[in-house]
Amino acid sequence: MISTATLAAIRFGYGLGPSAGAHPPETMLAGLALPDAMAQAYPVKPSHEAVRIARAYRRAKRAAGKAGAKDNPDLQEMRTNLRAAAGLGLVQGMARILETPVPFRERLVWFWADHFTAVARNAVGKAVAPAYIDEAIRPHVAGTFADMLKAVVTHPFMLSYLDQASSTGPNSAIGKRRGRGLNENLAREVLELHTLGLGAGYSQDDVRQMAELMTGLTVTKNGAFEFNPRMAEDGSETILGRTYGGGRPTLADVFAALDDLAMHPFTARHLAQKLAVHFVADDVQDSLVEHLGAAYLASGGKLMAMYAALLEHPAAWAPELQKAKRPFDFIASALVALNLPGKRLAGLEPNELNRLLFRPLADMGQPFMGSRGPDGWPETADAWITPQGLASRISWAAAVAGKAGGRAGAPARFLEQTLADAAGPRLSWAVRQTNDPAEGVTLVFASAEFNRR
């Protein structure tokens, strides 16, 4: 039987380690209420700065092209800076995990970032991607879902990704003058992925009306969010039987619809289902989902209420480890187990980071912020533990063990400190068969117990 303390670390954090954030269940929620120290300690470039770096690079590249030079040292340096800004999302994200006293917060940040998946289309977008998570998602993980939804739907990164920035009311001033029109992309995904969930009683007409209501949400030349009433469709829109707008188009009309969607019972059910599946099991009990959904609605859409409901439900503490960690979480929990300091990770050279993080994540099937669509990464264990996926995890484990295994110490002790009572008897036996610290680390990281939660 696995103890509650072990389960708390593995299921709701990034596992055990010599100095992993200690988080008995009763303090997990309290930790979320504290100020977010990690965001400041390991910052990423804010949107406006990332946009500035990206544009300067683009300008310099164009200028170099005009001058007939393909490349020059200045341009190379700017490109390095651009890539570094993009890489911060992963590097600082991992460093935060390695140093945080509240691992549950980091888990929740990535859970919601996946719920609101947005993917960069080019080098410029990649540089802004880390800011998207830090600006639209992270500040709201302990707040209300409606605030997060509104922050996402007005963030330039999402507006560009799902084409909202160019969607124009056909009868708006700009629509009429330039012959532009609607683009349904973001409106559809807000209903299908972000709020109500697929098949939750909305129609093609609702999608269309939502798209009309959302016209005006756009991005300025400088890469900032703007509500431009000259792009907004005239007249009122009706979504799920409720009417919005009708006067001069305003951002408040859009927000009113988003507020209503956030508190819709279908949304509550959808969010509850996703949260329960993410943390507990691929096939989750209905009673758990209902409990979460009810707590969410009763609290007026507070996410903390939903987390509290999750942590108090017995199903969340079932001793069976049913989930498989996604590659990002697999790597993060291995680095926690190896006690790698965040500062050391953040100080690695780009090629070292490639070998340790970027390339292996892609090999394991989860290229960083490279989801193939806005529905994010799969949850089910069999989507990840394929022959190809597992081979990549085992190879990574062996490579890391070869480098860091020496410091891990005796295999049996490393197993105890990494998996404690979650290690099964066969794994304990296997680890006892070797005296080689590197082989011990490989076995522990490659084990089913370590890859599950």
Partner: protein, 404 residues
């Protein structure tokens, strides 16, 4: 179901129970050779994101087309006087002229109205109709095909790439690998790991197949592997695998014991600036098909490639020089085994009354029926197996004669 067929996976399992290393098993090669189900090759490419069939195979002979698609222009090439081919596939014109390229127009899965990529792709890969929720179906139609194929073994079908392809997942053993994957592990670590995985079937099975595949790849350096520089070239920025790498790897396996390969190509969701986006995606598809042909050599003559997408796009352009999610779309067929040089499918027309839901191309055939006819001809499957097991509830209709 067929207890006398000892599948590769079962054999591997029993070998590991006996404590002997799978790699050292002397039975494997013979078994693989004995388990070769015919000579025909099938490659299924999933085009994720909803390809705009109307722009790829343009019905310029329909008077309404020019009115509906004023902004989307490309230097299309005349196929048959009615349909014109998007310039992004221009490199495949020699195949068209050789009768090794064909299209099906106005085809779709049975998916209707909700126009969700994710649901649409689930249904495409599950091969089911609307009477079952796509998410509830755990196996894909290519896997059910394998279940119905006598002599199918673990290497008969290959899911290529780093994603778990639903179209191939299910009860029948399949191989799943990506080009360039290695597994360096000492013999002792392997043995200990297999012991440690014993009580977790998902890990035990995946590891066993991974170790076996890693050994196979190590023994027979794949044609696609080449030198490091070449592989670097095959990696896209961000670590993705290029279509060329996937197709070269597929061709290499198909030249050996594999008969069915599947992979996917992204980038078809052209809501904005379709002219650019579609050209790019078609370039990738074109390169994949060209690489398959080159890699397969003389086996190209026995090969059928089917490229299919979750649904088509709106017949009208949207307000951002793109198109939104629609219904009827197009399929692409290629290979030396096909009866090509034709655009199949009944053209529904583009007048307001002809459209589905007054916005989409009306589907006039089910993508599954074309795939079913191809499989019947390639693998000599009975019609009732295709209509009841592979695609439950499908009516294949009359023989369209798509395979030579």
């Amino acid at each position: 179901m067929t207890s006398h067929f000892l599948t590769r996976r079962k054999l591997l399992k029993s070998a590991s129970v006996l404590g002997c290393s799978a790699a050292a098993s002397p039975f494997l090669t013979t078994l693989t050779l004995a388990a070769m189900p015919g000579d025909a090759r099938l490659v299924v490419i999933i085009l994720r994101g909803a390809m705009d069939g109307l722009d790829v195979v343009q019905p310029r002979g329909d008077a309404n087309f020019a009115r509906l698609r004023t902004g989307l222009e490309s230097n299309a090439q005349d196929l048959d006087g009615f349909y014109w081919l998007h310039e992004g596939l221009a490199d495949l014109m020699p195949l068209w002229r050789a009768g090794q390229l064909a299209f099906v127009h106005a085809a779709s899965t049975p998916y209707r109205d909700k126009r969700s990529h994710f649901d649409g792709q689930d249904m495409l890969e599950a091969g089911t109709a609307t009477d079952v929720a796509p998410a509830a179906v755990r196996d894909g139609w290519l896997n059910r095909l394998l279940q119905a194929m006598p002599g199918s073994a673990g290497e008969t079908a290959f899911a290529i790439g780093r994603e778990n392809l639903k179209i191939l997942s299910g009860r029948a053993p399949v191989s799943n690998w990506a080009p360039n994957t290695r597994m360096a592990l000492s013999e002792s670590a392997r043995r200990l790991l297999q012991e440690a995985y014993h009580d977790d079937p998902l890990f035990a099975d995946s590891a066993l197949e991974a170790m076996e595949l890693a050994d196979v790849m190590a023994r027979e350096p794949a044609a696609s592997d080449g030198n490091t520089a070449k592989m670097q070239d095959m990696m896209r920025a961000g670590g993705g695998l290029s279509e060329r790498a996937l197709a070269a790897f597929a061709a290499d396996r198909l030249n050996r014991d594999t008969r069915i390969a599947a992979f996917s190509i992204n980038g078809w969701d052209t809501h904005r600036n379709q002219e650019q986006g579609l050209k790019r995606a078609l370039g990738r598809l074109s390169q994949a098909i060209a690489t398959l042909k080159e890699g397969l050599g003389s086996n190209w003559g026995k090969t059928t490639v089917i490229a299919m997408t979750e649904f088509g796009r709106t017949v009208r352009e949207n307000g951002t020089a793109g198109t939104d999610h629609g219904t009827g779309g197009a399929m692409i067929l290629a290979g030396g085994a096909i009866n090509g040089g034709k655009v199949h499918g009944r053209w529904p027309g583009l007048s307001e009354a002809d459209l589905y839901d007054r916005r989409d191309l009306m589907p006039t055939s089910d993508v599954r029926s074309w795939a079913a006819w191809a499989m019947r001809d390639l693998f000599s499957l009975e019609r009732h197996v295709l209509e009841n097991t592979v695609f439950p509830g499908l009516d294949m209709g009359g023989d369209p004669g798509i395979i030579l």
